[in-house]
């Protein structure tokens, strides 16, 4: 566990001059979106008024006015005016870009108006891709501000793409371009559609002809490692060690010394500065409990403010001394791919059409691809579902005969990508062996595999010897990608020899190559992410090794060709190239792995799967069909993930994960939040669709909602069937939001009634009941930290819906204190307190992500690195890509430490 200094506000955001591109953005309002309830937002006490607070909604990625591909999608990048709407076209075939187009209809004489954006003035070639069909009309197209006028006949006997309409050398000004299509008539063969004719616009491709000006906003990746200290400079003067001992004698030894060693801490053991330095974890713990006013306990004698600061300063000095001597961080242990990564790696290696086996890890399911990070825009409406919502709890196979191995469990407070927890046993090896074989031999494989021709197909007329040569040539390319490293001749020889043996036996190039691929998929070179031992205390990663870390961090998969090229020619070592790769990778749909693999685990969302709010007490959690198998409430699992994805795609501030003025919800989910019965309203077509729902972006005018802490999914999974569980909620907030997981619960956990009705019948609130139980000091000091975080959420019931009072009418006390000093009265004030110290959440987020990126636990030696990243992160107001770049450029990400002994950081 890494505990970061809580009180050190590195950045006074209010005083920082905001130098980012502010892009006004518009919320798409759906009829059901407006929430009328408002809560008076009290800004008393120390919480800042909203006007003083930085608005994190203003942070947004430089939204490309021209999408990066230069392609304006009809369904996405054109203004939908009048009768224009989006039509999905998957059922007509896969030739439409994005699987959809913009559709309009009208009567002869009417005009379809729309507009699109152009980033900078210049000369462009335009290519319009339109759709033809039997009821499409004859149009006159014109582009305002240009002399473009073009007649287009969209009649066709069947629904398909029209020939491209190409316009050369058109000068466009920057900004909005008005485009219109006037319906002037029809082809004689065309039939009418509702008295008129239709138009379909798939996309517009813009190609810049003149030389664009260079981008002066390029990211400067150089870091001055010396400029940021590990700990913010303490203003107080450190005490000499003897003075520190005298002070500890006065304030600490009574409970933590000699005879009495509360929490197994005996401070009298630290007789010399050196003995404390040797136990740096304890030194860190003492420092943090002092700094956060956790110790001495409130009812004990307190040091003066100044003395406390001096004690902290003394310990800071010791920490700095330790860190100056222990720069290198803990070694990363070689690990095998987990189940999710193995799927992605095989998919990308063989260019498969999709997954190899069903993955419950992929919480969000969608038949219509919506995740397009290159566009820089997250759609306002997404058609998504949740595997666990449907009736079919048992997954169907994707490839016949291919079954996954068991899911890899998360480390305590961490992720499932750590070497220590990822073992290989005979059973697992059997799985890998079987997987390789069953994948290539499944009947669907040849159709599913994009490299069928480049890898398995062979011209008929080749002799066996020629086939052998051809195989060698193909393998030299394939094995480099599969093993993600420089291909040694001995390895190529070995696999080629194996191929030749198989060829002699089978006489079939295809079958022999499949046997080779099956072996590759079980090889340690494929299933482990391995790095060469460090030659000294630490050494720089090779290009290939860095490429591996990058791709498994951002894609949970193997490096692609472009990344391997940069690894091979050594250019990846250059900061600018590395940064450009990060940019490219974040614009690739594969980075959805950060949502599916990182965010899901970080938020511990899987826990919702087994949540069973009491069926009688919370019938609305279940579908109205009255069947416990259909948990309507599982839809709530999508809300925080969609928020995360929107932040990622639009490169917004991660502070929106704490406080956000929008949320993605289905109509059903919205009415459920509004305390209406879901599945009401017979006119709703989605009523019985438990597999897919339309999730729309909704404006939230009410700060009680928004963000992951107050989303129904997380609130439900941290509750018991018949009541909330503030301690579980508090522990979740401490772990997820602050990365300060509480220590394991003690053995003598006192019992508490399972039903809040029973507690309230005694005239007690849950809070009062829990407080009765904190019998001794060690309970109190720990719970003083966890509980307020959970009680702040007490206004949300066990399925995450707002309540003003308990069922019995008893009042809810949601007040507490954050960071030891910031008092709050309700959840909105708690959010304010969090926003007032944004670096706390940013640091925690950064630590979670760094630990995920490295595949190991963090230790004290990583703190300076985290502080560096957080410094930049905070300066960018928590912009998502900043933390990703900071991690990629950080020292521990680019270097590996020597593996000296088996003691790993705890």
């Amino acid at each position: 566990m890494m505990v970061a200094p809580m009180y050190s506000t590195i950045f006074q955001l209010e005083q920082t001059i905001v130098a980012i591109t502010l892009v006004a953005f518009v919320f798409v309002l759906s009829p059901a979106a407006a929430q009328t309830q408002t809560l008076p937002i009290s800004e008393a006490g120390e919480t800042a008024a909203p006007s003083n607070r930085f608005d994190y909604h203003a942070v947004r990625g430089r939204r490309p006015l021209v999408s990066r591909s230069g392609r304006h999608e009809g369904e996405r990048d054109f203004a939908l005016l009048g009768k224009s709407r989006v039509q999905g076209l998957k059922h007509y075939g896969d030739q439409w870009s994005g699987g959809a187009h913009l559709l309009w209809d009208g009567s002869v004489g009417a005009t379809m108006e729309t507009s699109f954006d152009v980033e900078s003035e210049g000369v462009y070639d335009l290519a319009f891709q339109l759709t033809v069909a039997s009821d499409y009309g004859l149009f006159e197209m014109s582009l305002a501000g240009t002399d473009v006028k073009q007649s287009v006949d969209l009649y066709g006997p069947k629904v398909e793409l029209a020939p491209l309409v190409k316009l050369k050398d058109v000068r466009l000004k920057s900004g909005k371009q008005s485009l219109s299509f006037k319906l002037v008539g029809s082809n004689p063969k065309a039939k009418k559609f509702q008295g008129g004719y239709l138009l379909g616009l798939d996309y517009l491709q813009l190609t810049r002809k003149d030389q664009p000006q260079s981008d002066t906003n390029a990211f400067d990746p150089t870091i001055d490692r010396s400029s940021v200290s590990a700990n913010s400079p303490s203003r107080a003067t450190p005490l000499a060690f003897n003075e520190l001992k005298v002070t500890m004698n006065r304030f600490c030894y009574r409970c933590h010394g000699g005879g009495s060693t509360e929490a197994d801490v005996d401070l009298t053991a630290f007789t010399h500065r050196e003995t404390l330095l040797a136990d740096i974890d304890t030194a860190r713990k003492i420092r943090d409990t002092l700094a956060s006013h956790e110790m001495p306990p409130e009812d004990k004698k307190q040091p003066t403010r100044e003395l406390r600061a001096q004690m902290v300063a003394s310990l800071d000095a010791m920490l700095d001394e330790y860190l100056s001597k222990h720069r290198s961080s803990a070694p990363v242990v070689m690990r095998r791919l987990n189940r999710y990564e193995y799927n992605n790696a095989v998919r990308d290696l063989l260019q498969l059409g999709g997954d190899i086996y069903p993955l419950p890890e992929k919480t969000i399911r969608s038949n219509a691809p919506y995740f397009d990070p290159a566009s820089g825009r997250f759609p306002a409406v997404v058609h998504v579902g949740n595997r666990t919502l449907g009736k079919n709890q048992v997954e169907r196979q994707i490839l016949t005969g291919v079954s996954p191995f068991a899911i890899d469990l998360q480390a305590e407070g961490g992720f499932n990508n750590r070497g220590r927890e990822l073992s290989v046993s005979p059973i697992l090896l059997e799985s890998f062996l079987k997987l390789g074989r069953s994948i290539v031999s499944s009947p669907e494989f040849d159709r599913y595999c994009g490299s069928t021709n480049s890898l398995f197909a062979v011209p008929n007329e080749l002799t066996l010897a020629q086939q052998s040569d051809l195989a060698r040539e193909r393998l030299s390319t394939f094995l480099e990608v599969a093993f993600r490293g420089e291909l040694e001749a001995t390895v190529l020889d070995r696999y080629h020899r194996f191929f030749v043996q198989r060829l002699e036996q089978t006489q079939s190039f295809r079958l022999s190559m499949k046997d080779v691929v099956a072996a590759v998929l079980a090889s340690p070179k494929f299933i482990y992410i391995s790095e060469s031992a460090a030659s000294e205390t630490e050494s720089r990663l090779s290009g290939y090794e860095l490429a591996n870390r990058l791709s498994f961090f951002l894609w949970s998969s193997i490096p692609d060709k472009l990344l391997l090229d940069a690894a091979r020619d050594g250019s990846l070592a250059q900061p600018a190239v590395l940064d450009a790769q990060v940019t490219r990778m974040l614009e690739d749909p594969r980075c959805q792995a950060l949502s599916q693999n990182f965010a899901r685990q970080w938020l511990r969302l899987d826990q919702l799967v087994t949540a069973v709010p009491d069926f009688d007490r919370f019938p609305q959690y279940y579908s109205r069909i009255g069947c416990e198998q259909w948990k309507f409430g599982l839809q709530t699992m999508l809300e925080p993930l969609l928020l995360f994805e929107s932040i990622m795609v639009e490169d917004r501030s991660i502070m929106l994960l704490v406080d956000c003025n929008y949320a993605y919800r289905s109509d059903e989910l919205q009415s459920w939040y509004d305390d209406k019965v879901p599945f009401a309203g017979r006119e709703n077509r989605e009523r019985f669709n438990t597999n897919q729902q339309l999730f729309r972006k909704r404006v939230l005018n009410d700060r009680r909602y928004g963000g992951v802490i107050t989303s129904a999914g997380t609130l439900t999974m941290t509750s018991a069937p018949l009541r909330t569980s503030p301690i579980t909620r508090g522990a979740w907030v401490a772990t997820v939001i602050f990365n300060e997981p509480p220590p394991p619960p003690p053995d003598d956990v006192p019992p508490i009634e399972a039903d809040d009705k029973v507690i309230e019948a005694q005239g007690l609130t849950l809070r009062e009941r829990l407080q009765q139980h904190q019998v001794n000091q060690s309970c109190k000091s720990c719970h003083a930290k966890i509980d307020p975080l959970g009680f702040a959420l007490e206004n949300f019931d066990a399925v995450g819906r707002w309540r003003d009072a308990y069922g019995s009418g008893l009042e809810i006390d949601a007040s507490g204190k954050l960071f030891g000093t910031r008092e709050f009265r309700d959840v909105v004030e708690m959010k304010n307190a969090l926003l007032k110290h944004p670096e706390s959440f940013m640091r925690a987020f950064c630590e979670h992500m760094l630990s995920y990126a490295l595949g190991r636990e963090l230790g004290i030696a990583d703190e300076p690195v985290v502080e560096e990243i957080v410094a930049r992160f905070a300066a960018d107001h928590g912009q998502f890509s900043t933390v990703v770049r900071g991690i990629v450029q950080s020292h521990p990400f680019r270097y590996r430490a020597q593996q000296i002994d088996t003691k790993e950081s705890k």
Partner: protein
């Protein structure tokens, strides 16, 4: 190779698993050439209950042959002459780590309390694996690890979900899906198909090794060990090919997700018994459920609503809760007894499968209420071919290490171990004098 007689009457009585053994006749006629005086092999199996048991309902009041069965032990009545109940066996708890993770992970651990793994608790090769080092030399599978963990929410870490370890950081992962278990045991073709690949990937591992650091080499060792294990397995399975083909058992069809709790445990138990009686393995562990894992659990036919086993254990001062918990303990005991009865209904040699087994029921905690590790609940059925004095309750001196039991079992199973973990000697009631 020596073989012992397997009776045709030994049909399994699964509670819903479609494992029919119609071809036992063929099996008997063709498989058992050995002289009848060859003693059947000894086997050891472990049945794990998470979160401890209610102490007041568990502990028998008296000892000896005519001891009174405690309330939770009532289901043992029909087999009381075949079991040994042992009290006062302890494990030393290590402070500072989670009590439940320790309960599962360290229960069978052969590490002494002061031999800490990097995870913070004593974790080394577990006793089932030590036994398998010897007893697994001849069988197709060196050991079998099973779990009836029904949770799909990944709530807990690997330490809560496994009782069998090759060493610290190297888990012997259990199989959770009866269909996977079945395929592994009986789908011979799957094993053979891999053999051509093994040499190749082993070469890869060898070429990888010199470049790696110390910890990485330890990790790679897991891979090479597994390759060797699978190689042996393939060879041995091949030898058994004709038997297994003739046996032709029917795979369980029903998905485990659709099974009731008792059905799930019994089907897994049936597969375990099938593997033991066909001598495909001689060592097995079966977790009825993982430790802690506070997700609600359905126990159909016993409880109307999903139960919270872990939550209940901390709330057992409440009489209603305690009664529910006692009922759950009874449920587990009944599952155990049913499996013992199945073993005892499986004739083998002069006696039954049970006579040639040690089938142990236990938990890593005695009481879940305070995470107590002393007086761990322990029942052994079967004598493993010995003259053991079953049918009694033995109460050892307070503080007797449970490692003494592991050492005794290891010796019965033929290992040369003289010390395991913090063991101080053997239990004479177990090592059959």
């Amino acid at each position: 190779m020596k073989r012992y007689t397997l009776s045709r009457r030994a049909a399994l009585r699964g509670t819903g698993a479609a494992i029919a053994l119609p071809l036992l006749d063929i099996m008997q006629n063709n498989w058992c050439h050995a002289a009848s005086d060859v003693a059947p092999p000894k086997r050891a199996a472990f049945f794990y209950i998470p979160n401890g048991v209610v102490q007041s309902a568990w502990n028998p009041v008296d000892t000896g042959k005519d001891f009174t069965l405690s309330p939770t032990m009532q289901p043992l009545e029909s087999i009381r002459n075949k079991v040994l109940v042992l009290s006062n066996l302890d494990r030393i708890k290590v402070a500072g780590t989670d009590g439940h993770a320790q309960a599962s992970t360290c229960w069978l651990s052969s590490a002494a309390p002061d031999e800490l793994s990097p995870a913070g608790y004593p974790l080394k090769r577990t006793i089932d694996q030590i036994i398998a080092d010897k007893a697994g030399r001849e069988t197709a599978f060196r050991s079998l690890e099973l779990s009836c963990n029904p949770y799909e929410d990944n709530r807990e870490s690997v330490y809560f979900d496994n009782i069998s370890w090759y060493g610290h950081g190297h888990v012997a992962r259990s199989l959770r899906d009866p269909q996977d278990v079945f395929n592994r045991l009986f789908r011979i073709d799957q094993h053979a198909a891999s053999s051509s690949i093994l040499d190749l990937v082993m070469e890869d591992a060898r070429s990888l090794r010199p470049r790696l650091g110390k910890l990485d080499r330890e990790k790679l060792e897991e891979y090479t060990q597994s390759v060797r294990a699978v190689e042996q397995q393939i060879q041995r399975v091949r030898k058994r090919q004709s038997d297994i083909t003739k046996l032709n058992p029917e795979a369980p069809i029903k998905p485990w997700q659709a099974m009731h709790r008792d059905e799930f445990i019994q089907v897994m138990g049936d597969l375990m018994i099938l593997a033991l009686r066909t001598d495909l393995t001689r060592v097995a562990t079966l977790m009825t459920a993982p430790e802690r894992w506070s997700s609600p659990l359905k126990v159909e036919g016993w409880f109307d609503k999903p139960i919270q086993h872990h939550g209940w254990t901390h709330n057992q001062q409440n009489e209603d809760v305690r009664r529910q918990l006692e009922k759950l303990d009874r449920f587990h005991m009944e599952q155990f007894v049913q499996l013992v009865q199945k073993m005892d209904a499986t004739p083998e040699g002069e006696g039954t499968l049970l006579d040639n087994m040690m089938f142990l029921l236990g938990s890593g905690l005695s009481s879940g209420e305070l995470h107590i590790c002393s007086n761990l609940p322990t029942v052994i059925a079967g004598t493993a071919g010995g003259q053991r004095q079953t049918g009694q309750h033995v109460r050892y001196a307070e503080g007797t290490p449970i490692a003494n039991l592991w050492l005794s079992m290891a010796q019965v199973m033929g290992t040369e171990q003289t010390r395991i973990g913090d063991s101080t000697g053997v239990l004479k009631e177990v090592v059959c004098t």
